[in-house]
């Protein structure tokens, strides 16, 4: 897949930070650019190629948190964006939604890239729940991105927040989110760009992602050591971005990209895929493996899953919302409650499951491609046929069977967990000491 020219375009400050994290991970020549409305942000940008957006609109003041200015700015400088994306087969648009540039310009940029013939993947972060107004901007922007791009992978900062305790430094949190996204980006990029041991057809990814973003979930993990294949599988099966494995259990298609150094063994790939397959028996697997000598000793695994459409449809129709309505945080809360799905209204799950609502209010938006509505129709039909929606989930529940160990006197007391072991269980049992 070396002929697939892959380019990275950061929109706004947050996007540049993520892209910078990616650049630091993979020092090879990445074709990337940073588009921003703020000259100040561009001046300090770690990325060499810089595209100034909307000097004529904002007069060098930046978008100032207003998505409309962001959008107008991008439209004013469409030419420079097209120039960058021209000839690329795949463009990753990286943005932090919620601010003016990210929320406003990213959909326009994504559309421009797509119009130049590339497959467009958007990697975005969405704000914390407490940033009320920004959350709304981000939500609106996501809707537009879904119409404009081929795939949108959104991670809520709130979700990342839940993986940390209260004492975490905010900087650390952002860095973690950036690293996580960069890791995934790197995984996807490596999947397409590295010499394949088991190559993945570009078309596979395209087929998997085009028009399916509402049900896509993704994760990238890495592991080292002798048991790395097993460790990587375990990490994936408990990965929060995959709904702690639920996304795998209910997946219809799973794409696994394995990357390793010269010591990568086919047995490892086999073991990994078999472990994952055991959890999602009904899914189609596409497996790719690639070699990068700099990864010797490491195993990187990228997983992209698409859900069976029935669940996404149930989530959407259950809400009873009109097509043109722009979801507010409150509305989204109601929706997630009705679909019985997620605990947090603005967690990543919600963005991933969110319906592709068409925002007709904005004349600038090109109507969504017809195949989308076809799929919607299909989904509604399949929902009416049957609703065995939680079958996959029960499978994953059955595995939780760790109550074999004896606790004796402490049987009915709170578990005494410490670093993953129950200290109430006799030590000799846990250490495997045999008493004859």
């Amino acid at each position: 897949m070396n002929d697939a020219a892959i380019r990275f375009l950061a929109v706004g400050h947050a996007g540049a930070r993520i892209l910078d994290a990616l650049r630091r991970r993979s020092p090879g020549a990445l074709e990337c650019a940073h588009a921003d409305t703020s000259p100040e942000s561009l001046r300090t940008s770690p990325i060499d190629r810089r595209l100034t957006l909307g000097l004529s609109v904002s007069h060098g003041l930046g978008a100032g948190g207003d998505p409309d200015i962001g959008r107008l700015s991008a439209e004013a400088d469409l030419a420079s964006i097209r120039e960058f994306t021209q000839g690329a087969r795949m463009v990753f648009v990286v943005a932090g939604l919620g601010g003016g540039t990210g929320s406003g310009a990213a959909p326009v940029v994504a559309r421009a890239a797509r119009e130049s013939g590339a497959l467009v993947l958007v990697i975005a972060t969405t704000p914390f729940e407490f940033e009320r107004r920004r959350v709304q901007f981000a939500q609106e922007s996501l809707e537009r991105l879904r119409n404009a791009a081929d795939a949108v992978l959104a991670i809520s900062n709130q979700r990342v927040r839940r993986m940390h305790d209260d004492r975490t430094h905010p900087h650390e949190l952002y860095q973690f989110a950036n690293e996580l996204l960069a890791q995934t980006l790197q995984g996807l990029w490596r999947l397409l760009d590295s010499p394949g041991l088991i190559p993945i057809e570009f078309a596979h990814i395209e087929r998997l992602l085009r028009g399916r973003h509402a049900e896509s979930a993704f994760a990238a993990v890495q592991a080292t050591g002798g048991n790395r294949a097993h460790a990587a599988a375990e990490q994936l099966l408990t990965h929060p971005f995959l709904d702690t494995g639920a996304a795998l259990a209910s997946a219809r298609e799973v794409l696994i990209g394995v990357a390793g150094g010269d010591d990568l063994q086919i047995g490892e790939v086999e073991h990994l895929v078999e472990t994952l397959q055991a959890r999602c028996p009904s899914a189609d697997f596409v497996v790719g493996a690639s070699i990068d000598p700099s990864l010797t000793g490491h195993l990187h695994v990228t997983a992209i899953t698409t859900r069976a459409p029935a669940q996404a449809a149930a989530a959407r129709v259950g809400s009873g919302f009109g097509g043109g309505e722009v979801p507010t945080p409150q509305a989204a809360k109601v929706r997630s409650a009705e679909s019985g799905g997620t605990t947090a209204p603005f967690g990543g799950e919600d963005f991933l499951q969110a319906p592709e609502q068409r925002t007709v209010a904005d004349p600038r938006l090109i109507p969504p491609p017809p195949e989308l509505s076809m799929e919607q129709r299909q989904r509604i039909l399949s929902r009416q046929r049957s609703r065995p929606s939680s079958r996959g989930r029960t499978d994953s529940q059955m595995v939780m069977n760790f109550d074999i160990a004896q606790r004796g006197r402490f049987d009915n007391t709170e578990r005494n967990r410490h670093k993953g072991v129950d200290l109430d269980v006799p030590t000799y049992l846990r250490l495997g000491i045999v008493l004859n």
Binding site: D166, R407, G408, F410, H418, P426, T427, Y428, L429
Partner: protein, 402 residues
């Protein structure tokens, strides 16, 4: 019935026994133990009350015994709390010196200490103790009172012990329902260290490990500062439970076996040895138990416990600061060989703790089981004594849940 100095009462609601200590303290801080009351505990598991009614009954009888022995009436007491929800950690609070002349004021120091408490605790947790470790001005450690120095920034290093407010309140309510007021909840581990450490030990730095029935508290004290503290919900109960499960005998038998033949190390002497389990209910002599197996079960459990403590203290190389060594307290510290085991893991001198610097019945004071209750009473005395001038004290700045 009435005494001139205030009567100090410490109550420990433990997993295996409930213990109340009554003492009094002179102006200069000399503590005299007047009485001890104890009762077997039935409603507590792993340091936390699970059966309120039984626990209430046991507390009543322990307090009654103590009152009888000391010839006083208990109206209020200091209550020891423990449980795996209690956690200690170190924090730093900073405060810039605001005045133009950069003169550090007492208020700056107080503000820095206050800032150190501005931490995000887990939900429903409350601060039990905030203990000042040291004060730095512009990164340089200064004596206890930096007021009057020049500097830009005051830093207060503190150790914060916090726990689940509802669980703490639960045990407080249990006492309050007996019409006795609780002055303040005290972390058992902290109290224990006050009973077993002499001022010299504290100055040299000491790690006190109190292995109770259901929970083990540890406190690393150096000078007046606590460097590390915490609780593991593992205790003598776990040792007995392991024996019961491993040798397939009843909990009561396991308990007896532990006391009569137990050891924390597997010695050469136990190899191939066996002991009769005793007669069963119908008088038929039952099977024999391999001594080596018994000792191995106990040894791995206690070793794991010490390793957990050592791991927590190894953060920041704190074990090096415990120059006075490790002090083992609590009922399980009576297990033979436990000092050898601890020595092997901590690589420090190990002492079986007794209550020291306390006047009273020496036989009682020699019992490590009573150290916590006595320590709570003693800690109460320090609290009352130091209230007007808190600077030098192990102090709580938060009034608890009021």
């Amino acid at each position: 019935m009435s005494k001139a100095s205030p009567i100090l009462v410490g109550l420990e609601i433990g997993t295996s026994k409930i213990c109340a200590a009554i003492g009094e303290e002179t102006e200069r801080g000399e503590f005299t133990l007047l009485g001890i009351g104890q009762a077997r505990s039935h409603g507590v598991r792993k340091g936390e009350v699970v059966d309120r009614e039984k626990a209430q009954e046991d507390v009543r009888s322990a307090l009654g015994n103590a009152e009888e022995q000391a010839q006083v009436t208990i109206r209020n007491l200091f209550l020891g709390v423990t449980g795996r929800h209690i956690e200690g950690f170190n924090n730093v609070g900073m405060h810039p010196v605001a005045s133009d002349d950069r003169l550090v004021t007492a208020q700056d120091v107080a503000d820095a200490a206050e800032n150190a408490k501005a931490i995000t605790l887990p939900a429903e947790h409350t601060i039990l103790h905030t203990i000042r470790q040291r004060i730095c001005v512009d990164g340089v450690e200064v004596a206890d009172n930096p007021a009057g120095r020049l500097g830009r920034k005051v830093e207060a290093h503190v150790h914060v012990i916090h726990g689940n407010a509802l669980r703490i309140q639960n045990s407080m309510q249990l006492v309050q329902s007996l019409s006795i007021e609780v002055n303040q909840p005290v972390f058992n581990g902290l109290a224990n260290a006050q009973a077993v450490l002499t001022p010299e030990d504290k100055e040299n730095g000491a790690l006190v490990i109190d292995i109770g029935g259901g929970a083990t508290e540890f406190v690393l004290q150096q000078g007046q500062a606590i460097r590390q503290s915490g609780v593991f919900a593992i205790g003598g109960d776990h040792v007995s439970n392991d024996i019961a499960l491993g040798l397939k005998i009843s909990m009561g038998m396991a308990e007896r076996l532990k006391i009569r033949h137990g050891s924390a190390v597997v010695g050469a002497g136990s190899r191939g040895q066996s002991v009769p389990l005793g007669e069963n209910d119908v008088g038929i002599p039952s099977r024999e138990i391999s001594l080596e197996q018994l000792h191995r079960i106990m040894s791995v459990r206690l070793q794991e416990l010490f390793e957990l403590v050592a791991e927590r203290c190894a953060e920041g190389c704190l074990l090096d600061e415990a120059r006075a060594g490790v002090f083992l307290s609590g009922g399980s510290s009576l297990i033979p060989g436990i000092d050898t085991l601890a020595q092997r893991i901590f690589r420090l001198p190990v002492t079986r703790a007794t209550c020291r610097n306390i006047a009273g019945n020496s036989a009682t004071l020699a019992h490590p089981e009573f150290a916590t209750a006595i320590g709570i009473a003693r800690y109460g005395g320090m609290r009352l004594r130091n209230r007007p001038r808190q600077r030098f004290s192990l102090r709580d700045v938060f009034p608890f849940l009021r």
